[in-house]
């Protein structure tokens, strides 16, 4: 099929960027949008031009490396779909597709479609874990966990850390991302002892990194490739207000 790709090109973090339009012919409808970018890049390299820098790794929607704004929506705005899972068959013959990087103050552009999302690692480092040393764990079945509790914890833990929630939010809030981790660990007994401290520290870190506050637009949930529920933000607020034990 024939497509036009309008892509954000920016050679470096401090350099000006602009949209460049490319025509693509003969793409197979079963191919993914990122495979179309691969194809375009092959052409650019053979023509002696710098290929379009973009990030992707697993190409099956689990690693969270891919993440671009397609047609104005993070990951293209299709339910529970990451950028790498977008098929060309979802677009019209001859359609012009605009692809640009995630934009948020906490995500500076590295090059073209690649942004720096290391702020998300710093949020996890601010308490998104259980303080446990290797080798000291008790027998796994000693502590039963109700099936539905484990399932709900997994629903929250399914976050792939792509950052779409932040890119889609008018405030660039990380509430869904932080809420997902806080919920995952607060639901399980293993995460219990640190739950209040974790929520406070992660929220403070998010403020420090320049993420905005949540004002309940819900756009984060709409673009989340794993469909993380907005309830995790309510849980985050409750955990944040909890009085620390003792």
């Amino acid at each position: 099929m024939k497509l036009a790709l309008r892509i954000w090109r920016q050679a470096g973090p401090a350099l000006p960027g602009a949209f460049v339009r490319y025509e693509l012919d003969g793409a197979a409808p079963e191919s993914t949008l990122l495979e179309a970018l691969d194809q375009l890049n092959e052409r650019l390299v053979l023509a002696g031009e710098a290929p379009i820098a973009f990030e992707s790794d697993c190409r099956e929607g689990i690693c969270g490396a891919c993440g671009v704004v397609v047609g104005g929506r993070a990951h293209g705005g299709r339910p529970r779909t990451a950028s790498c899972e977008l098929r060309l068959s979802a677009f019209r013959e001859g359609e012009e597709i605009t692809i640009e990087p995630f934009r948020a103050r906490a995500f500076p552009i590295v090059r073209d479609l690649i942004v720096d999302r290391s702020a998300l690692d710093r949020l996890i480092a601010a308490g998104g874990y259980v303080s446990l040393r290797t080798g000291g764990a008790a027998e796994a079945n000693a502590l039963p966990i109700a099936k539905d509790v484990a399932e709900r914890a997994l629903d929250a833990a399914a976050c792939i850390g792509c950052g779409a929630c932040i890119a889609a939010c008018p405030n660039a809030s990380a509430a869904l991302f932080v809420g997902a981790k806080v919920t995952h660990l607060a639901l399980l007994p293993q995460g219990g002892p640190e739950r209040s401290r974790r929520a406070r520290r992660m929220v403070e870190a998010a403020d420090r990194e320049g993420f905005g506050a949540c004002s309940s637009h819900g756009e984060c949930h709409a673009v989340c490739p794993k469909g993380i529920d907005l309830g995790v933000i309510g849980r985050l607020n409750r955990e944040h207000l909890r009085r620390p034990p003792g």
């Binding site: 390299v45 820098a53 969270g64 874990y129």
Partner: protein, 654 residues
């Protein structure tokens, strides 16, 4: 390489002194690892704080090792090729992790997991290593649960299990179809906990381009900082390579875009032995490629074979829709060929059988490269909700990729390159023949022999990372004396110069073909010549064709833009250059191993039923290769495998 160089030579009979496996002295397998640990050198925490360990890779093995070494007090630098450790390719593992907890009370034990793994690998791995793996499986589940990994649970709150190939018991722990992601997040969080505590320096977007060897010991790496192209030296007292496998050499594989072989090839060039390079696993249930240029193939977990039945039409060329083919005209070939294990036959057998059926004209799908994986019977037996609960994200993944709902029509699957059992040679302590260079996870060759069982990769990565290498590397680093290595020393400067020179060579080739074109061509050569089945003739021709392609690569490669910037085309070219070198070695190893074992099916060596025929008297050994430089062929050394506790038999799943 000349044609003479690829003639197989007869294997040497004596153990190479460079390959001392340092197996435990203990006469029994249980307790051997405990006994080994009792002999390790310890050091005060203050002394450990003065030592630095460089960990290359942040997947299950690397993140677990970096976190645990830091907990022990070491300073750790952890290099990660992606922008975050949470994206390492372990994240894509779906089905589960094996552990011999025997929660199902179905006859499992450490001994049983040991036997299944040893036999699954067709007796091409070491008894003590595999036994240790089985023993550590117990502590790994405890560790992961304590980290908050949300494994599947039964209604009573106990951990749930399912079955995987090559086992008759249910010992696989899982979290829907995202077990790898959940275990990786556990290890990632442990790693970031140590970043928070100040013990780990996290170095994302770094690709290792050289190994620094000083006075015969591994002391650091040269890495490219991908956003700027700057070359950096990271120096320490020991190096742990956890850089993953090399199945991406086949171009079309289940491996991620950035999974590559450069770190292990650099170590090989610096003197580390490469063991059993021809042992690469093809996963039987992948989605067939929709275009020849498509590199990354999508995997469907082996877990689906718990409930799915594999079949093809009985008559060749039958193009009817699956639902119009009556039961009597279907060939459930795995159940027919392997009645005891049925659809849960191990991967090597299931992949070979699928290819066999398709080559005989029974294949389905657009180009006849596919077999059905059919859930209809399980659907009728258990209903859709139960199946969705078990496999929800796999169904979604399949539907998004193909537009077909697997609960309405059977899935179409085909084998694809997936996992490398071969890798850098290591001793029982997971140290390579280069002192100070430890190799863990898929990057080493240690535990899976000639075929890995499903749900054992996560197990090995975590065993190596949490429990083995922190002990062994700790003993090494605590025990030795290490002169400080100055950034301006000769070994660092020469490693830097080698990396710079390679980059210049890649940029300067000035040809007309992209790295991806060479990679795709290499993949086609290997798939047909060194793939699911091999013979002397095709291997010899493939080895020559690969050598020729490699020469062309250096003449005709085109890379645009420069070295001092983010340049993904340059990154790709460097990786393809290393695939070409490794592919030659794979062909050479496959040619020399004149037997069939596990994934390595030499057509000349098969039983009357068409199964792999091992030749234990000649090949019950590890083949380890030493780099000979550009001019000389690699030199072979062997490590004989000793079976003291198990008598290798013909591996039968019939």
């Amino acid at each position: 390489m000349s044609a003479a160089a690829i003639q197989p030579s007869s294997p040497a009979r004596s153990r190479d002194r460079e390959l001392e496996p340092h197996l435990p002295q203990s006469s029994t397998l249980p307790g051997a690892w405990r006994e080994r640990q009792a002999g390790f050198t310890l050091a005060t925490r203050a002394r450990r704080r003065q030592r630095r360990v460089i960990v290359v890779g942040s997947g299950l093995a690397g993140a677990a090792a970096a976190a645990t070494l830091s907990e022990l007090g070491f300073q750790v630098s952890c290099l990660c090729i992606q922008d975050s450790p949470r994206r390492a390719h372990s994240v894509a593992a779906q089905g589960g992790i094996n552990a011999s907890k025997n929660y199902q009370h179905d006859g499992d034990s450490v001994q049983r997991l040991f036997l299944d793994t040893l036999r699954g690998g067709d007796y091409r791995s070491r008894e003590p290593n595999v036994y240790r793996l089985a023993e550590l499986s117990l502590a790994i589940i405890d560790q992961c649960v304590a980290q908050g990994v949300p494994f599947a649970r039964e209604y009573g709150g106990q951990l749930e299990n399912r079955s995987f190939g090559g086992a008759l018991v249910s010992r696989t722990f899982y979290a829907r179809g995202v077990t790898g992601q959940q275990l990786l997040l556990g290890a990632y969080q442990a790693l970031l906990k140590e970043v928070d505590q100040g013990g780990v320096q996290l170095l994302p977007r770094r690709e290792m381009l050289e190994l620094i060897v000083e006075d015969g010991r591994a002391r650091g790496v040269i890495a490219r900082h991908l956003p700027t192209g700057a070359l950096e030296a990271h120096l320490g007292d020991a190096v742990v390579l956890a850089s993953g496998g090399y199945a991406s050499v086949f171009h079309q594989s289940t491996n991620a875009q950035s999974s590559n072989a450069t770190a292990v090839v650099r170590a090989y060039e610096q003197g580390a032995a490469f063991a059993n390079p021809c042992f690469v696993q093809f996963h039987p249930s992948c989605l067939p490629p929709h275009a020849p240029e498509q590199g990354k193939l999508i995997l469907m977990s082996e877990a689906l074979r718990n409930d799915g039945r594999v079949w093809v039409p009985r008559s060749p060329g039958d193009r009817r829709a699956p639902e119009s083919i009556p039961e009597a005209e279907r060939d459930y070939y795995l159940e027919r060929m392997y009645p005891r294990y049925g659809n849960l036959a191990p991967r090597d057998l299931a992949s070979r059988a699928a290819k066999g059926r398709c080559d005989a004209g029974h294949g389905v799908g657009p180009d006849g490269r596919g077999v059905y994986l059919d859930l209809a019977e399980a659907l009728a037996r258990e209903g859709a909700p139960r199946l969705v609960e078990r496999y929800a994200n796999l169904f979604e993944l399949y539907q998004r990729a193909t537009g077909t709902d697997p609960l309405r029509a059977p899935m179409i699957i085909y084998p694809a390159a997936h996992y490398s059992m071969g890798g850098l040679w290591v001793d029982y302590d997971l140290m390579s023949n280069l002192p100070g260079l430890f190799v863990i996870g898929e990057a080493n060759f240690s535990d899976h022999g000639a075929n890995r069982l499903g749900a054992s990769a996560l197990l090995q990565g975590l065993a190596d990372g949490y429990f083995i290498v922190p002990q062994t590397a700790s003993s090494y680093a605590a025990g030795g004396t290490f002169a400080p290595l100055a950034p301006a020393s000769a070994s660092v400067r020469s490693a830097l110069a080698r990396a710079e020179q390679r980059t210049r060579r890649l940029l300067g080739a000035g040809g007309q073909h992209t790295a991806r074109q060479f990679h795709a061509q290499l993949g086609r050569l290997l798939w047909s010549g060194c793939g699911l089945s091999r013979n002397r003739d095709t291997l010899q021709r493939t080895a020559l064709a690969v050598a020729e392609l490699r020469a062309r690569f250096w003449r005709e490669l085109r890379v645009t833009a420069g070295a001092a910037e983010l340049n993904q085309e340059l990154e790709r070219a460097g990786r393809v250059a290393d695939y070409l070198l490794l592919a030659e070695l794979m062909c050479l190893d496959a040619l020399r191993r004149e037997e069939s074992a596990g994934c390595h099916f030499r057509e000349e060596y098969q039983t009357a039923e068409g199964e792999a025929r091992r030749r234990d008297e000649e090949f019950a050994h590890v083949a380890a290769w030493f780099y000979g430089g550009e001019a000389e062929p690699p030199r072979l050394a062997i490590e004989p495998l000793q079976f003291r506790h198990v008598t290798p038999s013909e591996r039968s799943y019939r």
